[in-house]
């Protein structure tokens, strides 16, 4: 019995220490965002890294998500004779929910994992120590550009995801299910407000921060050796994905 209590106690303390460390890491990175010198070139390189790595997969997932939504939406709406509302169903689902979430999950898998592995390797090959001894702050040089790039690229990639998704929905609705082109788009115009776009934008912005925070933290604190880096990468992807889904619910239920 004592053993169990001790085990639970130790795990709880470990968890709080881990969360505390993560939080301090975030505060420190946010502080360095606003203090010069600004590493603009690193920021641009990371924007390219996120965009370049993820855009193809985002386009594919976006397109097929829209197509599936149209297909399933049509099946459900058809039962009530409201197929005309297929456009808004596809657009609202994508803009408010699926766009930000699926896009964030895809970028995590594609670029987030690579980011953790890269920083993890920099850690184990002493490149981060080398930066420190050259009096270059590694938080500023490595972490901050990634967080800023996440804040910029996640909303942009989400926008691409939404547009491609809506077009995918259009292809299925109009060309496969026989809905008229005018109905698909005019109903969408009628039902989708700026408010919906704003919610989607805030979501993707917060996912950008969460994913880059978790992925850079995991890489920065990865253990030693190939195993340390692989574990950090797995943990980064799993934790990011879970946090994306939990945060999405919290935002939807309480905040937005």
């Amino acid at each position: 019995m004592r053993g169990i209590i001790r085990y639970i106690g130790r795990k709880t303390i470990d968890l709080w220490l881990f969360l505390g460390k993560m939080f301090i890491f975030l505060i420190e990175s946010l502080y360095h965002i606003f203090t010069p010198p600004f590493k603009f070139r690193n920021f641009l390189r990371q924007v390219r890294f996120f965009g370049n790595k993820s855009i193809i997969v985002v386009i594919f997932t976006g397109g097929f998500s829209g197509m599936v939504l149209a297909l399933q939406g049509y099946y459900a709406l058809n039962k009530f004779g409201s197929e005309a509302l297929l456009g808004p169903v596809v657009a609202l689902s994508l803009i408010r929910e699926l766009g930000p979430v699926l896009c964030a999950l895809m970028v995590t898998g594609r670029a987030g994992s690579a980011l953790t592995a890269e920083i993890g390797i920099m850690r184990i090959t002493e490149q981060i120590d080398a930066l420190t001894v050259m009096a270059v702050n590694p938080m500023k040089y490595v972490v901050v550009p990634n967080i800023l790039a996440g804040l910029l690229t996640f909303p942009l990639l989400t926008a691409i995801f939404d547009v491609v998704g809506i077009y995918g929905g259009y292809l299925v609705s109009v060309h496969a299910l026989g809905l008229s082109e005018g109905t698909y788009f005019s109903q969408m115009e009628l039902y989708v407000d700026m408010e919906d776009i704003r919610i989607g934008f805030y979501k993707s912005l917060s996912f950008g921060l969460l994913v880059t925070w978790i992925c850079t933290f995991m890489g920065y604190n990865s253990g030693y050796g190939a195993r340390g880096v692989s574990r950090a990468t797995t943990n980064a992807v799993v934790l990011s994905s879970v946090v994306i889904l939990i945060w999405d619910y919290m935002l939807g239920a309480f905040l937005l």
């Binding site: 920099m122 002493e126 490149q127 120590d129 080398a130 001894v133 009096a135």
Partner: protein
């Protein structure tokens, strides 16, 4: 130049440094020898402030760096170059960008001045024509040379070498050692070399200190160390295991 006083460091329950005392004189090359896992690299990381000691002080030019933080610590670091064990070259950058890095980040020199300095540093370490290769395309010995060039470029007053020759063949070991000696004569830096290259290390150092079981057990000129009566030093130089226990048992 560097004075280490009663330095203690533990990682969890493992006590790595148990009161290290060592003075590194200006303009000299001091070698710290000792077995792998004996805390030599930990000692080096304390000198550049990558690790903080549990107890003890490190004075560099009279300033206790264990107490310094932020920009004050960076001021001292600007005078120190480090050649890491694996080179620690930035693998996303070319050799040129790696060597130029301390200048592009920390000075306001223009492109032409940087170019001239980088070319000079690369020719000093015998790596002309390699500037547009990536670290992954270089051999182990070349990477160490690039790391040395990067450490030299800002003309630091102190250079710390963390096992600069580990994993190299005997000919390369000699050539890297010669390079360290030659560049030291050229630039006049104070050097600290962490090494277990016996006996080659004796040829390039002015003083040798033996770190054993978390303490400095002997310090002296290479000749004094080679002739030392200390059983731990003797056994280490001869390559006998158990750091003296075997000899003690025999006697």
């Amino acid at each position: 130049m560097i004075e280490i006083k009663d330095l203690h460091k533990s990682f969890g329950k493992q006590q790595v440094l148990k009161g290290v005392n060592l003075v590194i004189n200006e303009g000299e090359v001091t070698a710290v020898i000792g077995r792998s896992g004996g805390g030599k690299s930990v000692l080096l990381k304390h000198i550049v402030g990558l690790l903080k000691p549990d107890r003890g002080n490190i004075l560099i030019k009279g300033k206790d760096i264990t107490k310094l933080k932020g920009s004050k610590l960076d001021e001292i670091r600007a005078e120190i170059g480090v050649v890491f064990q694996g080179g620690a070259l930035f693998d996303s950058m070319t050799v040129y960008d790696n060597v130029a890095f301390p200048l592009t980040e920390k000075t306001k020199l223009n492109k032409k001045e940087i170019y001239e300095k980088v070319m000079k540093a690369l020719s000093d370490v015998g790596l002309q024509g390699m500037e547009y290769k990536y670290p992954a395309e270089l051999s182990g010995g070349m990477r160490k040379r690039v790391a040395l060039a990067r450490a030299l470029i800002a003309h630091p007053k102190i250079i710390l070498f963390d096992e600069p020759t580990t994993g190299l063949d005997p000919i390369l070991v000699r050539s890297i050692h010669k390079l360290i000696r030659d560049t030291q004569k050229l630039y006049g830096f104070t050097g600290l070399i962490i090494s277990h290259e016996i006996p080659e290390i004796f040829e390039i150092s002015d003083r040798v200190a033996m770190l054993h079981d978390g303490k400095i057990v002997a310090v002296g000129t290479p000749e004094e160390i080679q002739k030392s009566d200390n059983i731990i030093v003797k056994n280490f130089i001869m390559g006998i295991e158990n750091g003296g226990d075997y000899e003690k048992g025999k006697s």
